[in-house]
Amino acid sequence: MRINQLKKKKILVIDDDELHLYTTRELLQDEDCEVISHKSNYGIGVTNLVRELQPDLILLDINMPGISGEQLAKLLRWRNTPFVFYSSNDEDSLRESALRHGAKGYICKGNIVELKNIVKKYLAKSTFDDMTISV
């Protein structure tokens, strides 16, 4: 756990669109973190991936073939991994329902400032809270 703390933080991006994965990865390249992108294929293997990687934050697309981000959120909720929805849509209703789905927030894909701010916020957070849970 302590070693983990010294490592770079990990951000997992889940999307079905490779271009969005590329854009997000590149946009976050200057942040002090490791960005892992995962192209969702009907949600196969996502829970395993999250268990293996133990990312510090997940950016989760909503509109995906086979399984939506909101459905994936149900699977991720109990893993104590914070996730935010990261979608192209920008409706208030989605922002509101994000919290109900256990997300820590909602970022619209075109809003780069918001993306960077939320990621920065999570990178600044100590892992202390997470450690107390896992110890």
Binding site: L19, T23, L27, P65, G69
Partner: protein, 402 residues
Amino acid sequence: MPTQDITSNTIPVGELVTSVEQVSPNFSVNSVADKFFCTTDLDAVAVIDDESMPVGLVTRTKLLFSLFRRYGFELYGKHTIITLAEKNPLIIPKDKHINDVIDMALERPPQDIYDEIIVTNDDGTYRGLLSVKQLVIQQSNALAKSILQKEIASARAQELEKISQVKSQFLANVTHELRSPVNAILGLAELLRMAAEKNSMEQIKERLSFMITSATNLRTIITNILDLSKIEAGKMTVVSQPCNVTELVCEIAETARILVGKKAVSIVVTAPVEPIIIATDHIKLRQIITNLVTNAAKFTEAGAITMAIGINNGSLEIAVHDTGIGIKEEHLEKLFTAFGQIEDAKTKQYQGTGLGLTISKNLAELIEGTITVTSTFGKGSTFTLFLPSQVHERRGVLNHAD
């Protein structure tokens, strides 16, 4: 949705009058009794004074009940009818509504319930009689009608609801399909700025090409949406002119080769040696085949996309066969409706908008053709465009070798 109950409450009873029989108050009981004896279907007469005002009611049952008693005729026969008449019959103006009248009629004492009701004109003069039986029949008819109308209205409301649901679903999907490339372009623009700051020409080139792809996608979606609304508004015009289908298909095959890129998919064109030339709108034909081939390229990871042209039973067939993911049988019928393949915008079953196929189907209809699809899930699909080709002519010159 509130439905208006228009029938049962709005029938004025004036229109339902069943008889206009009347006698003067001075008639003898005997003469009125004769009237009842002679007219077997006469149930009641109104007693009307010289000024046409109703003053009483005589019903067959009650009159004959009095007269048939022992000495009845002797006792009452020579009296004026007014002495035996019901002096306070139910009198109602003609504009009263049927439901109110029935309520009033049934509120009468039990022995009077079935008495006829006198209907008057606006000035209070006699208009006619109304039988309670008739009233009840009318009311139940009206009720049945109104139930039917309600059912029709609610079916219509459901239909409208469905249309509006489809529309808002369409809008939600369109919004997403439009936002997605816009946001990608925004992200790429920011990345370009970052690359420019670093003076990384390589990154700039890469990102620019991504940006062009995104913008092209966006243009395709916008064009599709506009095309679809044009088709729906009936504003698409057809210009028919000779078109070399073989050449056209070969050209589209070239674009398909670019589309499949590095995937292990071969593009095959099979066509008769002699080029097939038909009179049609070549722009629309190109759009249809391009759509079908683009779909095939999108959903095929390995194998082949075969475009087969042929004349069969006097119609031109262009079949686009792929070895892609295929379509489940239950999804086949929804295939040609805009966004029909997406039950829930958040879990799209397939990528893309489905606009392409809807447009293709509509375009095919515009040029008097049809599109059919057969598919085996997991194995591949075949989309076939049939075009009437009475107008086709084969040219004996081989001007395209493939």
